[in-house]
């Protein structure tokens, strides 16, 4: 079993709206996200935010080892809270916290087990630069680990509502706990306009990543 891949995919599954995105798009907004990860992960997430400062949702995740021999399915119900927002002229900063509860099944352990997730994110962005730090704790009877993620983004031009936004993103991720140790770096190219967001890239070892997200 490729445990590094499994840990990375588990993190992605438990991030509220995928890598780098905010866990709450806007009040009375629905977010749907689908992600493909190197043929070893398929994922769908959906959230609804009654207010701009909290959202509820669920996720479905399928994980496969590179040889396809090992599979896991994780289903979680999640709540996200915007603890604090700073609205500045031409900039915004946020502090989010979240938690999730559900079950995990897999062919590397018997039956199903309770899965828990807790995390936080602090971010700052303008229309040209972005910085975020996120920490996730994933726990179950069979695994417990923490993943810290730092993301830095740069936009070659300042987009507006009616233009396509383009971002270059560098991501560093550090794993602790009983599954994986080490730091992983990835490079991503992201586009979004209106409520549609697509991104693609690869980690330094060449594994492709792609995501699509829709807000409405």
């Amino acid at each position: 079993m490729n445990v590094r891949l499994l840990a990375a995919a588990t993190l992605l599954a438990c991030a509220p709206v995928g890598a780098w995105a905010k866990p709450i798009a806007f009040a009375r907004g629905t977010t749907v996200m689908a992600e493909y990860g190197a043929g070893t992960m398929n994922e769908i997430q959906a959230f609804y935010a009654p207010r701009y400062w909290w959202s509820l949702g669920a996720s479905w995740l399928e994980l496969k080892s590179e040889d396809g021999a090992t599979q896991r399915h994780i289903e979680l119900a999640r709540a996200n809270l915007l603890a604090k927002r700073w609205n500045l002229p031409g900039a915004q900063a946020n502090a989010f916290v979240w938690g999730g509860l559900g079950r995990a099944t897999g062919n590397d352990f018997a039956g199903s087990t309770l899965a828990r997730n807790a995390g936080f994110q602090a971010d700052y962005e303008t229309r040209r630069v972005y910085a975020a730090f996120r920490s996730d704790l994933e726990e179950s009877r069979y695994f417990s680990h923490r993943i810290d993620t730092l993301q830095l983004g740069w936009a070659p031009y300042a987009h507006d509502y009616d233009t396509v936004a383009t971002w270059f993103v560098v991501q560093g991720r550090r794993y602790t706990g009983d599954l994986v140790r080490g730091t992983e770096t990835a490079f991503l190219l992201r586009f979004f306009k209106g409520g549609v967001w697509v991104e693609a890239g690869a980690s330094r070892d060449g594994k492709p990543q792609a995501m699509a997200m829709f807000n409405f």
Partner: protein, 109 residues
């Protein structure tokens, strides 16, 4: 004509201008991405008085074109944008159409 009549006349004139304003412009802090604009647009389109909405991230501008004879109070607008997660730092009313404002915020060639 005494001062009270002049005052009443001026007040009436001001109210008339306010009532006939076509567009409300708001300066908003925290506008940095399309999702911000999308949420604000969705919120403001929920007002029956709203005809159309313009959001310019570059100019930190949110503008609401009003339907004929309709209006939205400043307090309502501030509340709506605060509830959407943003900070209103200024509101003004204008007779300029949304198209005029849109032309003004477009990048120059």
């Amino acid at each position: 004509m005494n001062f009270s009549k002049i005052g009443a006349l001026l007040l009436g004139l001001l109210l008339s201008v306010a009532a006939s304003a076509k567009t409300i412009e708001m300066e908003v802090n925290g506008l940095v991405c399309a999702f911000c604009a999308q949420g604000i647009e969705k919120t403001l389109k929920g007002f029956p008085a709203t005809d159309a909405v313009l959001v310019s991230l570059e100019h930190r501008l949110v503008a609401v074109a009003l339907k004929d004879g309709a209006d939205i109070g400043d307090a309502e607008l501030r509340h709506a944008l605060t509830e959407a997660g943003y900070t209103v730092v200024g509101i003004r009313r204008t007779d300029a159409s949304l198209e005029t404002l849109r032309a003004g915020v477009k990048p120059h060639d």
